[in-house]
């Protein structure tokens, strides 16, 4: 299905989602429905389970209980079907320090089946979009945190995912970087987005829904 294509099926459907780490509960009975092409903003203090929620949606964590449907795939059983349709931008850029920016993107492109000329063209397009063409051959270890974040955003959208999972996407970006990133992960591309942020003012205007989590992972009624 093309990003943003109209359908009755929600992009995300959560019911009674719970995740425990030993005796500590990170998410406790979270439920929501998010339509395709919509943006969900997840807010909450540190330790409220925002990142845990994002990692469950990214198939990197299994829920302890509850139902999770993402793009028609039931998690965790159908995680293998969902991978490749999601773009995940977490706290870590997921880039190898000893490889250059271009080599990192080539690595990720190939893992997502983007090989040869189409892969190279996509990488060049993204590097240009975030203003990194001239820094593309530098090792990631030599780049600033902001430059790494730009590359991480390229990595996140490299394979044209339908669902973007963004954890503090603006972190380390300067004003120019935020503007450039907006073209890739901002609203308007018709993709479903889940954005985790500490800053409600930054993304609230773009959000179709807001999920507020409190310490202990409970959703707070809006």
């Amino acid at each position: 299905m093309e990003p943003g294509q109209a359908t009755d099926e929600p992009a995300l459907s959560l019911a009674g989602l719970r995740r425990d780490y030993g005796e500590r509960t990170a998410l406790d009975g979270v439920g929501l429905r998010l339509g395709r092409g919509e943006t969900l903003l997840v807010l909450g203090p540190n330790g409220a389970g925002k990142t845990t929620l994002l990692r469950i949606l990214a198939t990197l964590l299994r829920p302890s209980s509850g139902e999770v449907q993402a793009l028609g795939c039931s998690l965790p059983d159908e995680a293998w079907k969902l991978r490749g349709k999601i773009g995940f931008l977490g706290h870590e850029p997921l880039l190898y320090r000893d490889l250059s920016g271009r080599e990192n993107l080539r690595f990720h492109a190939r893992l997502h089946g983007l090989t040869g000329e189409p892969g190279e063209a996509r990488i060049a397009e993204l590097l240009a979009a975030v203003g990194m063409e001239r820094r593309a051959e530098q090792h990631v270890a030599e780049l600033s945190a902001g430059m790494r974040q730009r590359l991480a955003i390229c990595r996140c959208v490299l394979h044209r995912p339908e669902l973007l999972l963004l954890d503090e996407p603006d972190s380390n970006l300067d004003a120019e970087g935020r503007e450039l990133a907006r073209a890739l992960i901002g609203p308007g591309a018709g993709r479903t987005r889940v954005i985790v942020s500490h800053d409600p003012e930054r993304f609230e205007a773009e959000a179709d829904q807001v999920l507020r989590l409190e310490a202990g992972g409970r959703a707070v009624a809006a």
């Binding site: 991978r83 997921l94 490889l99 690595f107 893992l111």
Partner: protein
């Protein structure tokens, strides 16, 4: 080309490129092995070794040098988010096992290209044993690569990984080491290269390799789950 094969080649190429650039594993392994041979040479006060003693010195040294490579095998994946990146991709995670095992196999073989001639120079009267020894080295390397990759992928998530890896790995490779020294012993015989039970030990080595390659392939997907 299938997605799994592309993933295998991509991960392997990344690992080899990173190692060639940073030289984090191989030089340390080679230096360790060479130093150990020097210590054995002066510690035993012998200029020539033969039979089981020669086989024991060679394989004990290679095994402990291999541990250095095993310990570093998944460090980039843990510290730089490689595990997450690979888990996010629509690929068979067994490709990661295959790529890492191949990389470790390549490190071991490269190590042996350097240090086995040094071993021969220090302890053997002739180089006649080195030809058939290559078969033993290749089979033993395959076993160490399969077992080492499996254990390293588990240990890397632990805070005590530097301790846990060797503690779990060493008992598991005891059968491999018995077979490797058993196969090498007649090759280093004092009277010249022999082949007593050489084939039987090669069969044991092959069986060990097969078991751990299949085991790694089968369980690796589960090991990457949270």
């Amino acid at each position: 080309m299938t997605p799994s094969r592309i993933a295998y080649i991509t991960i392997l190429a990344k690992d080899l490129r990173a190692e060639l650039r940073t030289l984090q594993s191989l030089p340390a392994m080679a230096l360790f092995a060479t130093t150990t041979f020097v210590i054995f040479r002066f510690g035993l006060d012998r200029t020539q070794l033969s039979g089981s003693l020669a086989a024991g010195v060679l394989w004990a040294t290679l095994l402990f040098a291999a541990l250095l490579g095993v310990n570093r095998l998944f460090v980039a994946e843990r510290e730089e988010g490689g595990f997450d990146a690979i888990r996010l991709a629509p690929i068979d995670r067994s490709a990661l096992f295959a790529a890492k095992a191949t990389a470790l196999f390549a490190y071991l073989f490269a190590l042996e290209l350097v240090v086995v001639p040094i071993f021969a120079l220090f302890f053997l009267g002739s180089a006649a044993a080195l030809g058939p020894l290559v078969i033993v080295l290749l089979l033993a390397d395959l076993g160490i690569a399969a077992t080492g990759t499996l254990i390293s992928s588990m240990a890397v998530h632990s805070r005590a990984r530097d301790l846990l890896g060797p503690l779990v790995l060493l008992p598991l490779v005891v059968p491999l080491m018995i077979a490797a020294t058993g196969a090498s012993e007649p090759l280093f015989a004092a009277g010249g290269v022999g082949y007593h039970r050489f084939g039987s030990w090669l069969a044991v080595l092959s069986l060990y390799d097969l078991i751990f390659l299949l085991l790694g392939w089968a369980v690796f997907d589960f090991l990457l789950e949270d």
